[in-house]
Amino acid sequence: MQLVKSRTKWLAGAGGLPVGLLLAGCADETKPLNTFNPQGPRAELIDNLIQPIFLIAAVIGVAVVGGAIVLTIKNRVKPDDFDPDDFPAQTHGNPTLEWGWTAAPAVLLAGISVFTVFAIWDLEETNAPGGGIAGGGELDVMVIGQQWWWEYRYDVDGDGFFEDVNGNGVLNTTDEWDPADAEWPLEIALDDDDVSVANEMVIPAGEQIDLSITSRDVIHSFWIPRLNGKRDAVPGRVHSWNFVADTPGEYTGWCTEYCGLSHARMRMNVIALERDEFNRWLANQSRVADIPSEDTEAAAGRQIFQQQCASCHIIWEEGIGQDALYGRDFEAALTAKAAPNLTHFATRSVMAGAIYSTFVGLDANTNDLQPGNRNDRYLDEYLELPSFIPEENDQLGELRWNRPQLKRWIKNAPSQKDMAPEDLRGMPAFPGLTDSELDQLIAYLATLD
């Protein structure tokens, strides 16, 4: 009997262990995608809803599993003690008891469902167009998923439109607009006064960002776990969504709807800045790119870009009308023809579907590049980044332009990330580019601040 008791206690402890591990594991704030680490009101609302429910579930789980184990141990008959004619009392059931344990969980679930339904409608109201802050947030961003990166279009002039230059595929955030009016797949183009960035969304902290989420090809899902739950990007539909990042910082996310070949390499980055820093960032993004002075390495790189890259990538320059840039044949655009706008490539901290850092820290001891471990000072000096783009910078501990990775990427992107350029899905390799041509190209890209 003593044995049974101590063993029961041990088992109860063993039952609690996984639950404890689970909660401990989840509370670990070093996990950048942790769903239990809300950094904005939407994610907080979800977290506040689910935490007590997890607790209730854990209690029930321990009670049921523990109960079953205790019953098993208590009631077992050892093979040696087995007597074929010794039977337990033959109970057939107890309707009162059974109605009781039908009703009890039903009542409990009814209670939980009340909170759930309120949360659903709270989130719906805040996430709807013009929801949340009265009249909607300060900033409208169109989020467009495609194989295998994210485009973000900012409605800078605030006219509510993310329209293309031909007037086709007009997308706006007003209620009257019907996605069925748009032409699919969406052409890559935007309202004259707006900006388009790739992979990294920069937002003002503490303000509501209104998102209109859609897709140019297959279904993707936009998810920044610390700011809000996920929302699918469905071609032919535009989903309203929004979030607030309470404090400046970097928030990462992954595409969470299976979207084919490189689904694992379609990630996203959100950088939240103070409002004045954000304004400076936005003003910079609204500029056209500088044309490098003649006879420089960068000027040579620009020529290579126009020959090799410009059929898919756009760099917006003074004196080149947008129509000229956008006038190409995007009819066949499955996906790859809609490649990231590189006008301000050098200001982005991530590239290639946010799988590589554009800048890396140098390890002070080994002098090795450390991709994926961005320098802590990165955020503080975000706006100063162009000054970190060195021709040759040998200082240890500095942020460095991730030239080796960039070179590998341009030379043979499909070897760095699974893509199908032969089906117009993803970036092709450029085996013909020589090393010096790559250097020139990178020198040009480095001017795109």
């Binding site: 996984p18 689970l22 594991g25 989840c26 996990k31 950048p32 942790n34 769903t35 994610a43 979800i46 809803l49 689910i50 429910i53 997890f54 579930a57 789980g61 599993v65 079953a68 098993t72 009631n75 008959v77 004619d85 039977f87 337990p88 009392a89 109970t91 059931g93 107890n94 309707p95 059974e98 039908t102 969980p105 939980i112 759930t116 339904v117 949360a119 659903i120 719906e124 069925a180 699919w184 797949p185 899902s221 776990p225 809000n228 739950g229 996920k230 929302r231 699918d232 071609p235 032919g236 539909r237 595409c255 299976y258 084919g260 070949l261 689904h263 694992a264 390499r265 089906d423 899905r425």
Partner: protein
């Protein structure tokens, strides 16, 4: 239109024999043993065993991709599998496990046990039963030939549009998925019709609805789910076939399609599918626990009606797979609440099983351990399932490893543990020897360890934000440790899963060495009708159709219970069991046609994928086989189970 059979399968009452063989295009096969008999048999027991063998094979076959997935994810940034290979492998793992393992495993138990539990000689349509199996196998084989004919499907088992379209999946893998599963689906559909008819029409005298064993009830609910769910999938697949093969526009966004159509169709099939995978296991556990607690199932009516309730409610929860798809708050609310309340009947089952354990005298053999394993592990999966019903929280959880953990807890910790329990329980009934208990306990405990080590950490990984269907991850995401544990667990689990085959071999050899002792008709002192006949089950099942007077009829032939619930033995199993003398019992004869009809379908399927010309011989063979099927002599008096020469036969029957 009713077809009047000129030559009924069974002879009409009062007509003991016929002197002449009916004529037809071909006579039926005559073998009662050997390969040819297995290929042409219409015996529900042989078909059940073949379902079991095929699903165990596919369990190993589908387990290999699972191990490859775990190896690839063991450490960050591994290159063992390319993105393309990884996508094919996780797609095939899911597809094989759902369609070729869990579903046919349920069919194996249903086929073998259902006629025995209701006191019938066979199923209602024996040839269609054989067709169901062969067409499932044909579809399963065809699906897996994709590996050798241009690459496996890479769209995931859910195969969402428009990623499943020709533009985004230009290979032929998706076509294989599409066509082969359509073919296998015919088997589920005909099987469902067959078993429903069997239960409705062929119950022994006195076997009223509220005397049906719980396993039979759960299987019946399962068949109704199949009957209505499979056609929805087939419709979706047919639309996709038109899109991919004939430039249809059902899922073409550029032509105004809404890709959510696929999601709705798929999950209207897909969620009932989830319940039809678990209900047979619930039925098994409801047989095993009373047998080894040595008391009746607690609250039989609640067990039955909760199963029926699950069957009905299973149709109203599909959109909980779509909480982030943009279906609108009203739909989200409705499906969230519906999903929450489907936990109620499931919870009733768990508590009733526990109440059956309460006050029992438990024999903890392997079958019982696996059943208790289901009760505990399924409960954990059920609880994480309730957390998905919290729709706002689901926007964080969905498409993460938390979901992977959840459905492996219900499908592996639930369904497969139940099936293993059933294998250990009914093995002596099917094969005439018990499985080794010592190896069985190793099997169970390593399985519990491996299972929890593999899928337990996935809860944590998911809540830490690890998305599903990810070929790889970085160190910076902090997923390293638990992934490594999960991989270690998966190899323990693979070892545990295999050990039942080792057990079968060792037990068989030991039994043969010991001179093939018979375990007796009722080795577990169990409750339902299948234990009232000899082991292994005689080919003719019952010598005499039993007459049923109560729930657990066989038990109450052995024991008398007074009003205080005290039992008194009145007779032993050996005295009561039918001796296994099949004289005078007439059985359906084997047939060539089911397997020929079944294997004509993949020919048409390959034609749809590679060249429509190939459809012509396929259709020709199909029509010829159907012609042969319909003109086959309805019965051949040479072919009863004795296979005795004709003249004597007429006399013995007299």
């Amino acid at each position: 239109m009713a077809i009047v059979e000129q030559e009924p399968l069974a002879l009409p009452a009062g007509e003991p024999s016929r002197s002449a063989r009916p004529l037809g295009v071909f006579s039926r096969p005559r073998n009662t043993t050997g390969l040819k008999n297995w290929l042409t048999s219409v015996d529900h027991k042989k078909i059940g065993i073949m379902y079991g063998v095929a699903s165990l094979f596919f369990l190993l076959w589908g387990g290999v991709p699972a191990l490859l997935i775990r190896l690839q994810l063991a450490r960050p940034n591994q290159g063992l599998l390319s993105g393309d290979a990884y996508n094919q492998i996780f797609t095939m793992h899911g597809t094989v496990m759902v369609f070729l393992v869990v579903m046919p495993m349920g069919a194996a138990f249903a086929n073998y046990l259902l006629p025995l539990q209701i006191g019938a000689r066979d199923v209602a349509f024996p040839r269609i039963n054989a067709f169901s199996f062969w067409v499932f196998l044909a579809g399963g084989i065809m699906l897996n030939t994709s590996w050798f004919l241009g690459g496996g499907p890479d769209g995931g088992w859910f195969n969402y549009a428009p990623n499943n379209g020709i533009a985004y999946s230009p290979g032929i893998g998706i076509d294989f998925w599409n066509v082969a599963l359509m073919i296998a689906g015919f088997g589920s559909l005909t099987g469902a019709v067959n078993l429903i008819t069997t239960v409705l029409n062929m119950r022994a005298p006195g076997m009223t609805w509220m005397r049906l064993p719980v396993f039979t009830w759960m299987t019946l609910v399962t068949q109704f789910l199949l009957l209505f769910a499979i056609p929805v999938l087939t419709v979706a697949q047919l639309l996709l076939l038109f899109d991919r093969r004939f430039d249809g526009n059902f899922f073409n966004v550029a032509q105004g399609a809404d890709p959510l159509l696929w999601q709705h169709l798929f999950w209207i099939f897909g969620h009932p599918e989830v319940y039809l995978m678990i209900l047979p296991a619930f039925g098994i556990v409801s047989e095993v626990i009373p047998a080894f607690a040595r008391k009746p199932i607690f609250g039989y009516p609640f067990m039955v009606f909760s199963g029926i309730a699950i069957g009905f409610m299973g149709w109203g929860v599909w959109a909980h797979h779509m909480f982030v798809s943009g279906i609108g708050p009203l739909s989200v609310t409705a499906f969230a609440v519906a999903t929450m309340f489907i936990a109620v009947p499931t919870g009733v089952k768990v508590l009733n099983w526990m109440a059956t354990l309460w006050g029992g005298k438990l024999i903890l053999n392997t079958a019982m351990l696996f059943s208790i394993g289901l009760v505990t592990q399924f409960t954990l999966g059920g609880l994480s399932g309730v957390s998905h019903a919290i729709a706002p929280a689901d926007t964080q959880q969905t498409d993460t490893y938390y979901i992977v953990a959840h459905f492996h807890y219900v499908l592996f910790g639930g369904a497969l543990f139940g099936f293993y329990s059933g294998l250990y329980f009914w093995w002596p009934k099917a094969f005439g020897y018990k499985l080794n208990e010592k190896i069985g306990k190793w099997n169970f405990w390593t399985m519990v360890l491996g299972f929890n080590l593999t899928f337990g950490p996935m809860h944590i990984l998911g809540l830490q934000g690890m998305p599903r269907r990810m070929q790889t991850y970085d160190t910076s995401q902090g997923f390293n440790t638990w992934n490594m544990w999960a991989t270690i667990g998966s190899f323990i689990l693979a070892f545990a899963t295999l050990s039942i085959l080792y057990n079968a071999l060792v037990s068989y050899l030991g039994w043969r060495r010991a001179g093939r002792p018979n375990p007796g008709p009722d080795p577990w002192d169990a409750r339902s009708l299948e234990w009232s006949i000899q082991s292994p089950t005689p080919e003719h099942n019952f010598d005499v159709t039993p007459t049923v007077t109560s729930l657990d009829d066989w038990w109450y032939h052995k024991y008398q219970e007074d009003e205080n619930g005290v039992l008194r033995r009145v007779a032993s199993s050996k005295e009561l069991a039918q001796p296994g003398n099949g004289e005078g019992v007439h059985l359906p004869a084997p047939s060539y046609w089911p397997i020929i009809v079944a294997f004509s379908l993949p020919i048409i399927g390959y034609g749809l994928i590679f060249s429509l010309w190939l459809c012509i011989p396929g259709v020709f063979l199909l029509l010829a086989a159907m012609y042969g099927w319909s003109l086959e002599p309805a019965d051949d008096l040479d072919q009863d189970h004795h296979s005795e020469p004709e003249p004597e036969l007429a006399q013995t029957h007299g």
